[in-house]
């Protein structure tokens, strides 16, 4: 798996994402990428949890090719249906999907539980008994049958109790995990809502930022003129080593640089910063820069400039 990268791999990649490679070549590239050969036809869709290619050069190219595939799909002509017919098709599908998903996400199918299967004892039948002891014997036999039956049932119940306890623990753990995920999603949603509020505010001022020299990094800041809230979004920012962080600064009339906060980038090189405090009222913002600083940031820029605008 993951032999060293060669130009031949790059030649195979475009046809690979299209699913156009024949068996041998598809297998060869899949092996290099560390993906199952069957995933070749699926291209960038990644239906299963296939590992992300181990080769970083191919990973970058696959991301670009995924965008090409998306663009090709967007270039398909619309369904050649009359507008009303297309609308009816979509509406019917929507209704069915809403009905199917109305009950929420179905939990993984619980296996039907085998019952404890109470066995019925058989008392048998005696031959001739002395009349005086007959009822006593029957009572004893009935008691024995009851005792055996009860023991079997009790054993079954105990197993059932254990199973239910286990189930309860699993559900509690799952509920905890869901709770945590919900909290995370809610936080993300709130952050996104605040970000969107700034970006889409009617009087938002936006400044484009570019990387220095041959850098392809780019970024943009938005400032809501009404409440002076600011948002920064950058792309193609290289990941930083340990102990480093990106720091955003705004520059005022007097060329003073004031920190607007620090941010990290994700594995796609994107960074998003919602500036925590409103920018000081009355300050004219002349420009923005992003510098690379030691972790935690610095009161004044000390490191190289990553973006300016």
């Amino acid at each position: 798996m993951n032999h060293s990268h060669s130009p031949r791999h790059e030649e195979l990649l475009p046809a690979y994402v299209l699913g156009a490679l024949d068996g041998d070549e598809a297998g060869e590239l899949a092996e290099h990428l560390g993906e199952p050969a069957a995933a070749a036809a699926a291209g960038a869709s990644g239906e299963g949890p296939a590992p992300w290619p181990l080769c970083p050069i191919c990973a970058a190219q696959l991301r670009q090719l995924a965008a090409v595939m998306e663009g090709l799909a967007l270039s398909a002509p619309p369904a050649p249906l009359a507008e009303a017919e297309a609308a009816a098709t979509l509406a019917a599908s929507r209704r069915r999907l809403m009905a199917e998903t109305a009950a929420g996400r179905a939990p993984a199918g619980a296996a039907p539980v085998a019952g404890p299967g109470g066995a019925a004892g058989d008392g048998g039948s005696g031959a001739r008994r002395p009349a005086a002891g007959r009822w006593a014997w029957l009572a004893a036999a009935a008691l024995l049958v009851l005792a055996v039956g009860a023991a079997v049932v009790q054993g079954g119940l105990r197993a059932e109790i254990e199973r239910l306890r286990g189930e309860r623990t699993r559900i509690a753990l799952r509920a905890d995990a869901l709770e945590r995920r919900l909290a995370q999603v809610e936080m993300d949603a709130e952050r996104l809502a605040r970000t969107m509020a700034v970006i889409t505010a009617p009087g938002a001022q936006s400044v484009q930022m570019a990387g220095m020299g041959s850098s392809h990094a780019a970024g943009r800041t938005w400032v809501d003129a009404a409440d002076r809230r600011a948002v920064f979004y950058g792309v193609r920012l290289p990941p930083l080593g340990a102990g480093k962080t990106y720091q955003l600064w705004f520059i005022d009339d007097d060329d003073r640089k004031t920190s607007a906060g620090t941010f990290a980038v994700n594995d796609r090189g994107e960074g998003l910063l919602m500036v925590s405090q409103p920018l000081p009222a009355g300050t004219h913002i002349e420009g923005w820069v992003v510098t690379i600083e030691p972790s935690g940031g610095r009161p004044q820029p000390t490191g190289p400039i990553a973006l300016a605008g």
């Binding site: 475009p14 995924a66 090409v68 270039s75 398909a76 002509p77 979509l90 069915r96 999603v185 484009q208």
Partner: protein
């Protein structure tokens, strides 16, 4: 350098970023079981997905069936979306393509392909389509649309056969009665031109 940005350019880029941010947010909500987010995701993307499915499968009934399967898969597997690989819309469109091609391969294909070959001359495959309001803002589609015009007709045909019919190099060579090496280089050059169009995006 620093200073004011041009408003038009700002709005174009903002629309694209915001659309992708919204899609990512919606997928996160769908993964958490939010049906309203799912409905919104369906409303935004179902027209273009239906267009793709219709193009691959050629019939309304089957396209409608696969459309529902694909969105049901989104509902069940939204958590599997990997942001590092593609945009949310790209992920959705590739799920749809993959399912439609599977369906196509399962069919008794021969007769259908012969019928399609006859219809091919008049029905465009890749065009600059009318889209929903949101798709109108797609910078990606505009760039690919422009780049498609730079491809030679032969390169375009090869890419279309692979994309919409799921044919391999060898199958395309047989279909077009052309040497295998020629087909490989047409696809490579054509895809690289398209990739360049995406790569130029600032």
């Amino acid at each position: 350098m620093r200073g004011r940005a041009e408003r038009d350019e700002v709005q174009g880029t903002t629309a694209m970023d915001v659309a992708q941010l919204e899609d990512s947010y919606l997928l996160g909500r769908i993964a958490a079981g939010d049906q309203e987010a799912f409905a919104r995701f369906f409303d935004v993307h179902s027209p273009i997905v239906l267009g793709n499915l219709f193009r691959i499968l050629g019939g309304r009934g089957e396209a409608e069936e696969v459309l529902q399967e694909v969105f049901l898969q989104v509902w069940q597997q939204a958590a599997r979306y990997e942001p590092g690989r593609s945009s949310p819309r790209g992920w959705l469109l590739m799920l749809a393509r993959s399912r439609a091609l599977d369906r196509l391969r399962r069919r008794e294909a021969r007769t259908r392909r012969e019928e399609e070959a006859a219809a091919e001359a008049t029905y465009p495959r890749l065009v600059t389509p009318l889209g929903t309001e949101r798709l109108e803002k797609s910078e990606l589609r505009d760039r690919i649309g422009a780049a498609l015009n730079l491809l030679s007709p032969e390169q375009r045909t090869c890419i279309e056969l692979a994309f919409f019919e799921g044919l391999t190099h060898t199958q395309i060579a047989e279909r077009l009665e052309a040497p295998l090496g020629t087909i490989k280089s047409r696809i490579l050059l054509g895809m690289n031109k398209l990739r360049q169009a995406i790569g130029d995006r600032s």
